[in-house]
């Protein structure tokens, strides 16, 4: 039993913010796979280049659910450029830390958000943004 989660992680795990789906979402991003034990799906609504609404669905451990919840809170109301800049480290620090073996869950959140933003961009006929080089892989 992992009881070394921060109170912030446990709060977001037990009371997840922005859980659910958005019908006819402007962008959807899914990351992870069931073999690894975690999948995150992010839905975004975009109004005037801002994320006016965001929802998530997650299959995974406490850290994966808490990371999804925190990441969606951090990008809600932000411009797409600001949301793109959200790093996994920012998610970890907002959660007051994650156990080392769980940091990949926060990377999953960052990646799923990037996919959702690029899904929106492609649907708008825009060129998808490129991932920065040297990012941490989320897979174990």
């Amino acid at each position: 039993m992992k009881l070394d989660y921060s109170n912030k992680v446990m709060d977001h795990f037990e009371n997840p913010r922005n859980q659910g789906t958005i019908e006819n979402a402007d962008g959807i991003g899914e990351e992870g796979n069931p073999q690894c034990g975690d999948i995150m799906k992010i839905y975004i609504r975009v109004l005037d280049n801002r994320i006016s609404d965001v929802k998530f669905q997650t299959f995974g451990c406490g850290a994966a659910i808490a990371s999804s919840s925190m990441a969606t809170e951090l990008i809600k109301g932000k411009t797409l450029e600001e949301a793109w800049e959200l790093s996994n480290k920012a998610v970890v620090s907002a959660l007051e830390g994650l156990p080392p073996q769980k940091v990949h869950c926060s990377v999953l959140a960052e990646d799923a958000i990037h996919k959702a933003i690029n899904d929106y961009r492609v649907k708008q006929g825009l060129i998808p943004w490129e991932e920065k080089a040297g990012k941490e892989p989320h897979h174990h």
């Binding site: 039993m1 069931p34 669905q57 997650t58 299959f59 995974g60 406490g62 850290a63 994966a64």
Partner: protein, 393 residues
């Protein structure tokens, strides 16, 4: 454990509480009767006699002779000693070991380490229930096989292996047969003579005895090297001052468990079956391990579309202590090798929940778990992107 005072402990395969009478029996050996059994004076003699009595109790519990029982620090030491001890003492005869693919890491990692030292190991497969085939054991035996080590009952899925049949095969071929019986001793009847077991590992804290105590049964015909070198304790085979209070506690706990075995296993089997049937009413849930041939205290089910650590965290909030085979709950991030060996796909292994009941478990505990688990499964399924729409609420 903040919003509920009720505690339901369903992780008895991990460890068990000490019985009060066991604690009472141990205390004098920590206080007034503290003598070192190797010394000459009277209080040492009391310790020496207590260890001898404990040895008789353990021997009687498994159908062995007193001088075939050696006290250790626990199941892990017993497994390490049995396997390494036999391999080092018999490597002139051969360097091949047969084991299963679902052993506890105390056995499997020991075998893997021996592979690095030049030994060869055959890891037998299991069927979907986690059963090892005695035929596979037979056909894997080579001229240079010196040891067969197969667990008595599996710690994750509770499946009881065909130990007597494997013992018979080993005895006919003259190969030493060791069984890690840590989950079985005190829970199912065991007779090392009848079952042709040459070596057997047991651990005190799995049957309401103290942690840090164990024993290895070593049949008379077995030649093995010590793991611990030093003093002359345990017939010069296991050095180190005896853990007298621990040994006393282990032996009494075992004697009591075996005396109550029939009654307690009937009661636990009833609770286990009710728990299993209730949990399997949840759609897309599956039982892991053998449906009948399993430990009376073990329930292991998987729930599709959700992950085990999340289940445990939510159960913990409701005061329920349980376990999972999910990768997310292990430091290695590898899913359970046992469930994987049973052919269960990785994405389903992640949603496994193990509940192991014990002497403390009541009917009310089972009712409570059967009320809480479906709610938690539903909550997590509503959150999961994998859940089909018809299972959402």
């Amino acid at each position: 454990m903040e919003d509920n005072k009720r505690i339901v402990y369903m992780d008895n395969a991990a460890t068990t509480p000490l019985r009060p009478e066991v604690v009472d029996a141990m205390i004098p050996f920590m206080t007034e009767n503290f003598g070192n059994p190797s010394s000459l004076y009277d209080i040492a003699k009391i310790s020496r006699e207590a260890v001898a009595k404990a040895r008789s109790r353990v021997a009687a519990a498994i159908g062995a002779q007193d001088k075939e029982i050696y006290f250790t620090s626990g199941g892990t030491e017993s497994d390490n000693w049995a396997i390494k001890g036999v391999c080092f003492a018999n490597c002139d005869k051969g360097m091949h070991i047969i084991t299963s693919s679902i052993e506890h890491h105390a056995v499997s990692y020991t075998c893997e380490w021996l592979e690095k030292q030049g030994f060869e190991v055959t890891y037998l497969p299991v069927d979907k229930y986690g059963m090892i085939s005695p035929e596979d054991v037979k056909s894997s035996i080579r001229d240079d096989t010196i040891l067969i080590t197969v667990m008595f009952a599996n710690n994750e899925i509770g499946t009881i292996e065909p130990i007597a049949e494997i013992g018979k095969i080993a005895r006919e071929k003259g190969i030493i047969f060791h069984t890690d019986a840590v989950q079985a001793v005190g829970h199912v009847p065991i007779d090392v003579e009848e079952m042709n077991i040459d070596m057997l590992s047991l651990s005190g804290h799995k049957f309401n005895g103290p942690k840090g105590t164990g024993a290895l049964y070593i049949g008379k015909r077995v030649k093995l090297d010590p793991l611990m070198h030093g003093g002359d304790q345990e017939r010069k085979r296991r050095a180190g001052t005896e853990n007298v209070p621990g040994i006393v506690g282990l032996a009494l706990a075992l004697e009591l468990s075996v005396a109550e075995l029939k009654e307690s296993s009937e009661r636990l089997t009833g609770l286990r079956n009710r728990l299993t049937e209730g949990l399997l009413k949840i759609p897309k849930s599956h039982l892991n391990g053998h449906p009948e041939n399993r430990l009376p205290n073990n329930v292991n089910v998987t729930f599709e579309y959700i992950e085990g650590e999340s289940i445990l965290l939510m159960l913990n909030r409701k005061g329920i202590a349980a376990s999972t085979g999910s990768a997310c709950n292990s430091s290695s991030l590898e899913p359970s090798h046992v469930l994987t060996a049973c052919g269960i796909p990785a994405e389903i292994v992640h949603g496994s929940l193990r509940l192991t009941i014990g002497e403390m478990t009541t009917d009310e505990d089972v009712d409570y778990v059967l009320k809480v688990v479906p709610e938690i499964v539903q909550k997590l399924r509503n959150m999961s992107p994998l859940t089909p729409d018809e299972l959402r609420t």
